[in-house]
């Protein structure tokens, strides 16, 4: 237990220090500032979002609780009204394509947005609420009091140490603060994927035509089977007058082969199903970022004495194939961290037990419920069979179903499936086991 003196506001630079002005940090700061707490929000980039990239789709439903009618002001590119999942091999592609007109209208579902725009907008909400935003400042470590609890941060500014009752580390996927505090075990490269992305310019009318949308409606295409020998996936998202084309690549597999990330993107862009979509587009910006991809199995300890982790720093990123979400988990975990800290400060107890409201909130909501439900999904989606055998299997079945082989009569679908399964080399029991695992995860 920390004595009440340690929480004496007069002796501290702030009530709470939030490290990182991404979606997690800004939502934590909004909640805390609105509760009247003195919050310092520290960002190492020159502005919030300047270090941040992602595939390109955000699902801001959770913002209903912080910013009513957020869709009227959030800096989005397009509202996703069309979602496609594409399974491809070198020369074939099978696509499941879903459209929902309603998602183009309030209250919306997902949107494409640039993180430097979106994150800066969200951080501004924290500033308006009263948080103090300090940019261009890298937090270099944690301060501890005599009891061993976190009591502030060191920064790269001269005389830049800052003290507070609680530090919320939202310092991203590499979280050196979580590491310093021993909240992670060893970093295992197998838990991470590398995301690489090209932002490519095309005239808006060309995007509308190629992707079959109008106005501010947009498209989200997820692709499996486009990453060569590396396990991972691909994506294409439409912005207003750019498209985002990229890959996520499992680190150990990427490192163990010869093709570089940009070469793998180039190969995907030459695929006959992709080339007509991206042809003639001009590169505006190339970017890269790591993703904590392993789900619940890699989660660190989420709290320490005087400290909480949120967002990518807490590995709260959902990479479950048909659901690829992260910003919403970051915003929610940041928000719940803020609420838990308000509670802990009121009770004058910022030890692990005083901060337990954080874990409780995560467990009671989608943040950990989705992760527990989908605990098998990341492993299944990135498994060798799903990645390297099933695309050949399903596209071959489709090809044979749709091929007219007269004078030969049509073969039965069951026979095609049995023959192709054998030809591709998938054992029946593996297929059954993956089917069960899929149902358990997604069902």
């Amino acid at each position: 237990m920390r004595d009440a003196g340690a929480l004496d506001p007069a002796t501290l630079d702030a009530d709470v220090i939030v490290v990182g002005a991404g979606p997690a940090g800004s939502c934590a700061a909004i909640v805390l500032a609105r509760a009247g707490k003195r919050v310092v929000l520290i960002e190492r980039g020159p502005f919030p979002g300047s270090k941040n990239m992602y595939g390109g789709v955000v699902y801001p439903r959770i913002l209903d609780q912080l910013i009513p009618n957020w869709w009227l002001e959030a800096p989005v590119q397009r509202w996703v009204t069309r979602r496609s999942t594409m399974i491809m091999t070198d020369d074939k592609a099978l696509t499941v394509d879903f459209r929902c007109e309603a998602w183009g209208k309030p209250p919306h579902n997902g949107a494409t947005a640039f993180r430097p725009d979106f994150d800066a907008w969200l951080a501004d909400k924290a500033v308006v609420a009263g948080a103090r935003l300090i940019c261009s400042t890298t937090v270099t470590g944690l301060l501890h009091n005599e009891a061993g609890a976190v009591s502030g941060v060191t920064t790269d500014r001269p005389d830049g140490d800052l003290t507070a009752a609680v530090v919320i580390a939202c310092d991203g996927v590499n979280s050196f603060l979580a590491k310093q505090e021993g909240l992670y075990g060893e970093f295992d490269a197998a838990n991470y994927t590398l995301g690489v992305k090209e932002t490519l310019a095309l005239p808006k009318e060309t995007i509308d035509e190629r992707f079959g949308v109008r106005g501010t409606d947009g498209v989200d295409i997820e692709i499996v089977g486009c990453t060569g020998g590396v396990n991972g996936g691909g994506f294409i998202y439409t912005n207003l007058d750019t498209i985002a084309v990229g890959l996520v690549l499992k680190l150990p597999k990427l490192a163990a082969q010869k093709q570089r990330p940009e070469e793998l993107i180039a190969t995907m862009k030459r695929h006959p199903a992709i080339a007509p979509l991206v042809e003639g587009a001009e590169l505006k910006e190339y970017s890269a970022h790591l993703i904590p991809e392993a789900g619940i199995s890699m989660l660190p300890t989420l709290s320490g004495n005087g400290m909480l982790l949120a967002g990518d720093a807490a590995a709260l990123c959902l990479a479950a194939g048909i659901w690829l979400e992260g910003v919403n988990f970051a915003m929610a975990s940041g928000m719940y961290a803020g609420e838990a800290v308000v509670e802990a400060l009121r009770a004058q107890d910022v030890t692990v037990s005083g901060l337990a409201g954080y874990q409780r909130r995560l467990e009671a909501t989608f943040v950990l419920k989705d992760h527990r439900k989908l605990k098998r999904a990341p492993e299944l989606v990135l498994s060798d069979r799903v990645q390297h055998l099933y695309p050949e299997f399903v596209t071959s079945v489709a090809e044979r179903m749709f091929r007219v082989d007269n004078p030969a009569p049509k073969p039965g679908v069951r026979r095609i499936i049995a023959q192709e399964r054998k030809r591709v080399g998938i054992r029946r029991r593996d297929l059954a086991a993956d089917g069960v695992a899929g149902l358990r995860s997604f069902g």
């Binding site: 270090k51 261009s136 790269d156 590398l194 490192a255 163990a256 093709q259 030459r270 003639g280 890269a288």
Partner: protein
């Protein structure tokens, strides 16, 4: 058909499309003595910025300037102590564009 429709982007053009505010002090330091013994060299293929370049004498040439600060290199590296990785000074390093 369809495979060689247009030339791919030259790597330097690719990297130059991103903005980097370069600090005079390197945020990543590579111990080339350790890398000299490494036969796997995962960093060379995996670094999205292509900052690790093998030299003819068996070493590795490393530049920190146009780094995405992603962390891939230290995560894939199998050699203890070969890569010392930190964030750049506040305000420096990669700056992704606002619209």
């Amino acid at each position: 058909m369809g495979r060689e429709v247009w030339p791919d982007i030259a790597f330097q053009d690719r990297i130059d499309s991103a903005t980097f505010r370069v600090h005079h002090q390197a945020h990543i330091v590579v111990d080339s003595a350790i890398c000299g013994d490494c036969s796997t060299r995962e960093c060379i293929v995996a670094c999205p910025a292509n900052l690790f370049v093998p030299t003819s004498d068996g070493g590795i040439l490393f530049n920190y300037e146009q780094c995405f600060e992603c962390g891939t290199c230290y995560m894939v590296c199998n050699r203890e102590g070969a890569i010392s990785w930190d964030y750049p000074e506040g305000g420096f390093g990669v700056v992704y564009k606002r619209t």
